[in-house]
């Protein structure tokens, strides 16, 4: 006879921590840093606060054997967490503020909790959270997670006066890890983050006390994403049921207009006629079969493309600034495409190109990939951008050869990034996405080509005259010799040559 039992979500992720990238000590410390930095950036970006992030990793004196233990401390100047939400926000899995229809960095919505959970199971340390929303008090919590019940355990709680009206969040905890091995990826991650978040100040002190500073440029922040309604193409039966359950609309027409973008009076009526539903029906009165039919009809009807205000692209100026700041190239150009859509999800592609200066020749195009302002560092060759840059574009048409120092940057923003696998390290080659990237890269490649052409032109003009000056006298000499005559005067021709070329 089998014995059945229930396990908590925290317990599930404890057992399957690979899912969130906590596979081994090297990967764990890299993933922890990533999750914390991205949480901090989100806490600023969403409220148009210029991020100032301070990250410190210190090695706790060696335990003698086994992996090393590190103390991690991160401080941001973000919006802060309200005191009553702090325990659950940091001590309960599947609790957070990111389960919404707008662009954020988080991948599984697990945030930094997996980092704290991993710290707890490897070192049993408690996590210290200090946060303020800028009001009169600063709150300090010492937490641990009750994994079996997925509940926070508050070990200590304190309030401090906030005379300076400081706002932000500090997290500090210990974990096992192998920083030495993780270091190259960590530094690459921070550098690329600085490219794609050029307005952010990021300071990092590593376990040996080395200081890395990524200074933010003085510039306007990009418009933060707003939360939007569903687009009818991106809705399945489950979502529709949830909306029906919670709506206060009394008629289908009203229901559609209130809960979906791109549906006004006219569209609502046209759609309901197409779907063969009476506009006056009460949505709560639909049978399960009717809900399925409604969901299918939504996929088939021709609505306007989704609203992209839930997205927050970087913008051409900022992307160029980020590239310039970290790579200092001879030439740089960026392009933000207009919003597009796949399977009902809006997305925006931004692309940059850089040439010369700090860009190194690498025997091909160096590719930097970003998704929702996160650098993607693994499995490059499986990414759609790699396919576009290496297979679909004939770089010779743009005067680019493999020995030239050229880098391409591809940033895709979406409420749902089309990752190809669970690992979330590379993007699938959806035709809509591929086409956007292709067009964008072609355009910036064209701009680079134009730059290279101009640079070449002056050079070529100079060389042309050299050629005439070299060959015309020889023509005169050899023809005279063959004809058995004196060498003729070619100065008139040389003069004409210089005029031809000047024209």
């Amino acid at each position: 006879m089998e014995v059945f039992e229930e396990i908590s979500p925290a317990d599930f992720f404890y057992r399957n921590r690979d899912i969130a990238g906590f596979t081994n000590p090297t990967r764990a410390i890299y993933s922890a840093i990533r999750e914390l930095v991205e949480n901090s950036l989100d806490a600023c970006d969403l409220y148009r606060i210029k991020p100032e992030i301070y990250l410190r990793i210190s090695q706790i004196s060696s335990r003698g054997e086994g992996p090393e233990v590190y103390r991690i401390r991160i401080r941001d100047n973000g919006i802060g967490v309200p005191p009553e939400a702090i325990p659950s926000a940091f001590g309960q899995v599947l609790y957070g503020s990111k389960y919404k229809l707008r662009q954020t960095r988080g991948t599984f919505g697990l945030g930094g909790k997996m980092a704290l959970l991993y710290g707890q199971i490897t070192t049993h340390s408690e996590a210290v959270i200090i946060s303020s929303t800028g009001a009169k008090k600063i709150y300090e919590y010492h937490l641990r997670i009750d994994i079996q019940n997925n509940r926070p355990i508050v070990l200590k709680r304190a309030e401090h006066e906030n005379a300076d009206r400081w706002r932000g969040t500090i997290i500090e905890f210990s974990m096992e890890g192998d920083y030495t091995r993780a270091m190259p990826k960590v530094l690459e991650y921070l550098k690329q983050t600085a490219i794609v978040t050029p307005y952010a100040d990021i300071t990092f002190v590593d376990p040996r006390g080395r200081l890395y500073r990524f200074s933010g440029i003085d510039s306007a922040m990009p418009k933060p994403p707003t939360e939007t309604l569903y687009h009818p193409h991106g809705v399945d039966v489950e979502t529709l049921n949830r909306l029906i359950k919670s709506t206060r609309a009394r008629t289908l027409e009203e229901f559609l207009k209130r809960h979906f973008q791109r549906i006004g009076d006219r569209t609502a009526r046209a759609f309901l006629e197409y779907a063969k539903f009476n506009p006056k029906r009460d949505p709560k009165g639909l049978s399960p079969e009717e809900v399925v039919a409604l969901a299918n009809a939504m996929k088939g009807f021709d609505f306007l493309p989704p609203d992209a205000s839930c997205l927050s692209p970087l913008g051409e100026e900022l992307l160029e600034a980020g590239i310039r700041k970290e790579l200092n190239p001879e030439f740089v150009s960026a392009l933000t495409r207009r919003p597009s859509t796949y399977s009902g999800y809006p997305f925006i592609v931004e692309v940059g190109i850089a040439y010369g200066g700090g860009v190194q020749a690498s025997g091909g195009i160096t590719l930097y990939r970003f998704a929702n302002k996160i650098p993607l560092l693994f499995d490059e060759a499986s990414d759609v951008s790699w396919k576009v840059v290496n297979n679909l574009i004939d770089w010779r048409r743009y005067k680019v050869s493999p020995d030239m120092p050229v880098a391409v940057f591809v940033h895709i923003c979406s409420t749902k990034i089309p990752y190809k696998t669970v690992g979330k390290e590379f993007i699938a080659d959806r035709p809509e996405v591929e086409r956007e990237i292709l067009n964008a890269v072609r355009e910036v490649a064209r701009r680079l080509s134009l730059y290279l052409s101009k640079k070449e032109y002056a050079e070529r003009e100079r060389r042309k005259l050299d050629v005439f000056q070299k060959y015309l006298p020889k023509i005169a000499e050899f023809s005279a010799k063959l004809a058995g005559k004196e060498v003729p005067d070619i100065r008139p021709l040389l003069r004409r040559a210089s005029r031809i070329e000047a024209a």
């Binding site: 060959y471 020889k474 023509i475 023809s479 010799k481 063959l482 004809a483 004409r496 031809i500």
Partner: protein, 363 residues
Amino acid sequence: MKRPRASAKDRKEAVLRALRRIGSDIYDQIIRREFPKIKMPSRSTSNIFYDKELRQYVLGDKHIIRSAKNIRHIRPFTQMLWVASFVEELVRSNKTSTLRDVFYSAQAYEMDFVDQAESDSIITDLESVSGLAREDFNVFPEERSAIFGDLTIEYTVPGYEGRTLNLTSHPDGVMIGPALTNAEFVECKADKLIVLEKGALFTRFIEERVHERFKALIIQTAGQAPRSTRTLIRRLNEELGLPVLILTDGDPWGMHIAMVIISGSANAAHLRKLNTPNAVWGGVWATDIIDYKLPSDPLTDLDLRRLDELQRDPRYGEEPWRREIRTFFKIKRKAEQEAFSRYGLTYIVDEYLPKKLELIGGR
């Protein structure tokens, strides 16, 4: 001697005249303060046609103008003019040279070629413009083939003028170089010419006294025949009226060696009199492989692709070519000339050759 050629001296004068004409033409344009240009027949594939009457490839009517005004033309323009002046000096002083020499000699005039392919192509330009072959300019290839048989020649090269040699003097065969190419035919006791692809067979034929038994001259081409050898074959056919039988390996490559001797190559469409339309390819045929049960190897992919190209070549439109290509495709095998050794070393001379000689009118 049926139709004697122009004497060596007359030919030399003609070459020098042609070169002088090219120089004068350009000189005059410079004097008229024009950017000099030169007109030459286009050698692009779209201007190469197979002339059924001449039985060789010829160039069509398209021409290109090469002008010193054009930045992309001025370099090859000058190079060609330099080559003209270089070979003019060669011819005048009775010296010979090679394609490789021309490539290196250019450096003395700051006319460096990128590689030998470039200098070879410029020499071909000069051939097109002048209508003369590079051998006329005393530029000879390095490859050597050989001849043997009862023909007496008279040399025209410096130091040997008037001296004669009978081509049976050296039983290893007499090399076909500039001296022999430029020699006059004095007396010929042979009544046919047999052209062989392979040196080994050449030695066998001499040992077996084919020259006496069949009253034949024998030439070995050592693979694809050099142009000077093709000229010699044509002269022997035309001036001495010798019928020509060609024997090659039994594969698409051997077949094409015979075809180039008979109908010329597309590469030399701008020149005439390099081919011998009346020569006959006698084997090794694909049907010989079957009839003689020759040891054979399977045709490789490369062989088959080549065979497919030949099938679509207008020169292969008639018999026996069509039949043999069909047979090659059917049996998918090839055989070398040496394959007859399975029946003993002399079989090829005793049995096979007499059969094949019937193709050019019997022994």
